[in-house]
């Protein structure tokens, strides 16, 4: 016998189907999901999976692990969405989760030499990132002759200190504002500006000898 505990509203009649969640803003998608429109979760995944994957990948440099972490982001979004303050910007919230997971990952790696070694080995075998630059037998000028500027700058980002790299990627690649970066990284605006400035300076320094 059905007890009729309904966790989601019944689907609308075909003739007046709900407008696609794709046309809604993030906050409306979140509200729709919390109101029982389960399609909305998939829309959030669709909207953020690539952006977050690239952000996390740029931050930790390991594609496979980045996928794991982005899945974890969505699990946490799902787990805590009912507690999300809907007056806030959803994208900042989800980036904060991703940023924290990426930072934890880097922290764990720095404490675990075996994981660090495995990551380097995995990346070495992968063509996703030119970690060959880290091989002492390679000289950057040799490599530069073989590789494009694009790969060089990707490598340069990976050389930035962790807290500079996150800020740099959020600003230069994800286009976040200073205020958003401050919220995502839990820093004040002064720290964000300072880190960004240092990251840009260091980035230019790293590529300087390798660019004509």
């Amino acid at each position: 016998m059905s007890t009729g505990i309904r966790a989601a509203p019944p689907p609308p009649p075909l003739a007046s189907a709900a407008p696609s969640v794709r046309t809604l803003g993030d906050s409306q998608v979140v509200a729709a999901y919390l109101a029982g429109e389960v399609r909305a979760f998939d829309e959030l995944v669709e909207r953020y999976q690539r952006r977050l994957l690239n952000f996390v990948f740029r931050t930790i440099g390991d594609r496979e692990r980045a996928e794991d972490l982005v899945q974890e982001v969505f699990i946490r979004v799902h787990r805590h969405l009912h507690r999300f303050d809907q007056t806030k910007k959803f994208s900042t919230w989800i980036y904060t989760i991703a940023s924290n997971l990426a930072k934890n990952e880097l922290r764990n790696r720095s404490r675990n030499p075996l994981v660090l070694f495995q990551t380097i080995k995995k990346n070495w075998e992968s063509d996703h990132r030119p970690l060959q630059f880290e091989d002492p037998h390679y000289r950057p000028d040799d490599l530069f002759r073989k590789r494009h500027l694009r790969e060089l700058v990707e490598w340069a980002v990976a050389q930035l200190p962790e807290h500079h790299r996150i800020v740099f990627v959020l600003r230069e690649l994800e286009g976040k504002t200073y205020e958003e970066i401050a919220e995502i990284t839990d820093c004040n605006l002064g720290t964000v500006k300072s880190r960004l400035n240092r990251a840009r300076h260091r980035f230019a320094q790293i590529i300087e000898p390798l660019v004509d």
């Binding site: 966790a7 995944v45 400035n197 660019v211």
Partner: protein
């Protein structure tokens, strides 16, 4: 203006944080007269432009399937969720997992089905205009014990109605 001030201020002006016209003029003047700072700006802008041209990586074909499995595991394990929301959250998790499964079925028909075939209509419609018959799925949700869910799919893949039966 010295080089140190230039490096600090140029970044902020570039990002639109500072909009002081006089400062902008001073920065431009310094840049014209200082080869070092001009070189820094050139490298940074050129480097970032190259970085933005780098191909963005795409989630692997198994990404959604992996996410679906993990969402299902959340339900199975009974992750600690605020008690007042436990039932709803569990239902949402399962619904999302099922929805992701349907998306996977539609977009990657070759993907290995993880949820029992019972949850999927024999031939999944190419057009989302068809509403399949509800399919009962036995699940165990911590807040409700073993339950039967009637799984409906409406026009969009995640259009799901959950009815808990005991």
């Amino acid at each position: 203006m010295n080089c140190s001030e230039f490096l600090k201020r140029y970044s902020e002006v570039h990002d639109g944080w500072l909009r002081d016209a006089r400062l902008v003029r001073r920065l431009e003047a310094h840049r014209r007269n200082c080869r070092g700072c001009a070189r820094w700006v050139e490298l940074w802008e050129r480097g970032v432009a190259a970085l933005r041209e780098s191909p963005r990586i795409e989630p692997s074909p198994g990404f959604r399937a992996g996410l679906r499995q993990r969402l299902q595991s959340e339900v199975a394990i009974g992750d600690p969720i605020a008690p007042t929301h436990a039932g709803l959250a569990a239902a949402f998790l399962l619904a999302a997992a099922l929805g992701l499964f349907l998306i996977e079925g539609l977009t990657h028909p070759e993907a290995e089905p993880v949820m029992a075939a019972r949850a999927q209509p024999a031939a999944f419609p190419d057009s989302l205009d068809v509403v399949p018959e509800p399919v009962p799925v036995d699940v165990t949700i911590p807040a409700f014990g073993r339950s039967t869910l009637e799984f409906h799919s409406s026009q969009a893949p995640l259009g799901t109605l959950l009815v808990f039966s005991r």
